[in-house]
Symmetry: none
Subunit: 217 residues, 4 copies
């Protein structure tokens, strides 16, 4: 009597995973509102009703993708990094991990998080935002510790955190992995720019603050 083993094998991607991946790609390419369930079912070679067998609703699907992206980020980046004691080392590892995730691993799911999070409503939206805020607080804390340790200048930790996020979250808009720079080289250059800035020099902090004020005034 043959035992029906219903797709237990892990190497064959589950329908669920297949749907997530395809939907993530479509939401990325056309936006959440711009990608229809018909587009998705076509891309999957299923009927629309077939897709609905696996998901609850389009919004749940979006939430699922974002939650998956978040899990990727948290397990692949945050987890390895949160425990690093030295704030400088921790910051560098965070930037590198985040950049590499964005350029290499799950770009679609993560990009969707950035651009479609206000397509989410109510509870779902709040859950995703909570996880985002957690990351921001982690960054701010790291910058504060870096200042306290004497390694960093007296920068604004909030501004620095969002500056760093902006810099990383913009990557997908321009970076092509088959271009001039490898992911590692990109990460190196971004770490370097974040840590030391553009200008040459030793006690230049005071100098250039003056220059900025001058140019503006």
């Amino acid at each position: 009597m043959p035992v029906k083993k219903k797709r237990t094998r892990v190497d064959r991607p589950t329908r669920q995973a297949q749907i997530f991946e395809t939907a993530a790609r479509l939401f990325c390419e056309r936006g959440f509102e711009g990608a229809s369930m018909g587009d998705l079912s076509d891309a999957l070679g299923l009927t629309k009703a077939g897709v609905y067998h696996h998901i609850g609703s389009k919004e749940e699907l979006l939430y699922g993708i974002m939650a998956y992206g978040m899990e990727m980020f948290e397990s692949k980046v945050l987890k390895d990094v949160e425990t690093i004691a030295d704030p400088l080392e921790r910051l560098v590892a965070t930037v590198r991990g985040h950049v590499l995730l964005v350029t290499r691993d799950r770009p679609k799911e993560v990009t969707v998080i950035l651009h479609e999070s206000n397509a989410l409503r109510g509870r779902y939206r709040e859950r995703i935002n909570a996880r985002k805020r957690r990351y921001i607080r982690f960054l701010e804390k790291t910058f504060r510790e870096l200042i306290a340790s004497g390694a960093a200048r007296r920068i604004d930790p909030v501004v620095a955190s969002y500056m760093m996020l902006g810099m990383i979250n913009w990557i997908y808009q321009w970076y092509r992995p088959d271009g001039r720079l490898s992911e590692q080289e990109l990460a190196d250059r971004l770490v370097d720019l974040l840590l030391h800035g553009v200008l040459k020099g030793n006690d230049n902090a005071a100098q250039s603050r003056g220059a900025a004020a001058e140019a503006h005034g």
Copy 2:
């Protein structure tokens, strides 16, 4: 769609301008696909047909908004800045101008450019992209001159340009003008971070490059 304008009173905003502003706000809040022409006409206190008296199509409206945002940017930021001879002064003025535009003047129109430019097709899309590329080339050139002048470290001008763009373009996601920081203060801090980076120190360039490599390896 009316082309002739004979409106005598300049101080009363034209319907055209009113539509642009309202649409920019809606496209910003809900996305281009997410905001319907019904939403727009409701917000304007007109019927849908009334709106269509003034615009050609939703896509043309989007293009109009983006072109307007671009004109704002070019006339209020680029124009004043392109002629500055000293590259450092020029960079600082550019960052300040761009940040202030984004935080103060026409945030909606400019934000729409960032997020909805792939809702545009064909000719319109190409025109907007061309103007974006022009700005990027201007930034890269400025960074190159800065390096050549000896003021900047041997950074990657392309990466630096996109890092700067990402940092500025992310602002609308978190900055609130009624918060702790004024627009001027925000601009100051961003200029400072971009120029001198996070870390303290004199000949720190060499130092921290080492730190980055260490943290990664």
Copy 3:
């Protein structure tokens, strides 16, 4: 004291006539439902409201065009022909007159009558149909007299009338005045075919060709 003479000059086409002509062309090209008042005003170089200054409604405009086409037909064809005593001569003159009107004079207005008369409703529709029926009755009477006179075979006058109408009304679908045949030649051939048919008879071909030429000359 100057006497205001408001466009009495006949040689300058009145707005009314201009609108009729342009509308007839558009209704012909795109159908009554397919041609919009916007198309019409554009083609006239006026605004829609400008057009409405001269007409009551789109349906009235259609009725006006059809009535004009009917008047053309009645004054240029029927009037000259109704009084001809000899039924053969009368039939030939009618066919020739109708064909030449359709190919030469007012093709648009007349074509519109054929194709858009069920776009008309109520009273208007009935009026146009009454004039059509009057023509059909005239044709049937002519055929009956032709049979009674001994010139025609014992054909069915109704079928013959509609056959003749179909043959003429189809002309606009294929005949091009700049082609191989002149309008006169076309009329000749149709008269000939109607009178003598396709097959070779005894000597009636030559006979009636003469009759046709006579009736026309």
Copy 4:
């Protein structure tokens, strides 16, 4: 739009067929532009979206109807007739077949072809026109052979073809099957008129009436 058909019971008309028939009737009654998809879905007892499950677009629906009408014509009329060697017999059979198709079998689909073919655009239009031209060329060839065989007078084959088409295509405008004439009688009379014309010849009327009856019987 479903492509696969697995309907086992052949006798129950498919939705597809039901839609085609109803749409053909509506396009006929109100014209393509005048009949709305709402009219169609109402007539079918479906929602508009329900109709769109079965068709691609209104234009494709029109094309489908016309192609179906063309297939009817080609399979029911042309196919049986193209192989007839004798040109007179062939002409008579063609007229009879065409008239009977128009009066009896699929009047709506065929009528739509006549009146709405310029509602079609591009590829679709060209395909339908190509099939029309093929028929016209067949008619012209038949007339030429008839002349060459010595049976017909030296008429113009092009004019004769279009005259015949006009005569048949006009039928739907006036003929009512429940009237005085049966379809067969109508066909008889039209064949007779086309072949022998209106006028009395010498003895060819009797002759060719016999020929017509022979060709038909």
